[in-house]
């Protein structure tokens, strides 16, 4: 064994799990922000419900951030760049004011997202404990 040799982080490496869980937690909190916007606008006439892309497509795609070259340019955040309108077929209900937010649907999505975030946190905690076990001398 070569002393001082550091193996590169590869998929399948334990540390890769941390990166993945971190990205997924980031995705979950961004989605939660999109859902909060929908719920806040549940009674806004003409508002279209928004959702962010699924994590799987998020993983596959590499996104480029637009650069702000003038002071008037709006810097688009992660959630804005990804938020997309849910089409009529995807929404649970459309009210007379053409608002496509369904509170039940949004709360269900929020629950789902919070659960997956909890999973991420458990994964990070468990792997962290595992690493601590390997470095502790107790």
């Amino acid at each position: 064994m070569i002393v001082g040799h550091v193996a590169p982080t590869m998929p399948g490496d334990q540390l890769y799990v941390f990166g993945l869980a971190h990205r997924h937690a980031n995705w979950a909190s961004t989605r939660q922000a999109a859902i909060a916007g929908n719920i806040a606008n549940a009674d806004t006439p003409g508002y279209r419900a928004r959702d962010i892309a699924a994590f799987e497509t998020e993983m596959a795609a590499t996104r480029l951030q637009m650069a702000a070259t003038r002071s008037q340019h709006l810097e688009l955040t992660q959630s804005q760049m990804q938020a997309e309108d849910v089409d009529k077929a995807g929404a649970w209900e459309v009210t007379h004011s053409s608002n496509t937010v369904s509170l039940d649907e949004q709360l269900m999505k929020a629950d789902e997202t919070a659960r997956s975030h909890q999973l991420d946190m458990s994964v990070i905690g468990t792997f962290h404990r595992m690493l601590l076990t390997s470095v502790s001398f107790r």
């Binding site: 909060a36 806040a40 975030h117 946190m121």
Partner: protein, 141 residues
Amino acid sequence: MSADPLAMVSRIAGAGLEAQSYRLRVVSENIANAQSTGGTEGADPYRRKTVVFGAELDRELGALTVEVKRTAVDDTPFTVEYDPGHPAANAQGEVKMPNVNLLVEMADMREANLSYEANLQMMKRARSMVSMTIDLLRSGS
């Protein structure tokens, strides 16, 4: 640099809470004035108020929050009651009563209540997500 999404959730839900509580305020105003007639002969009574919400882009957050765009008035015609002795009665003895329908107000109140609760749930959920993240530090030590 974008804001922390979970902090954004609280701000957005907070804007929702504020908008819904304003709506509830207007509803109670309508109910309180359901019998407010005019004081002089043939005068118009209280006109029902409605709230118009609009999605608002918060530049600081970079997300859509909600705000009350304006309070409009309901222009449905007044109901007329026959009461010759009333100070607001016209020559035919008719008094215009406010166009407030208590059933509609109750329905509006329930809806505002529901939306308020939904916003509150989002806030609670974001809080628990943040506390779970902080708990990572606690269990690791």
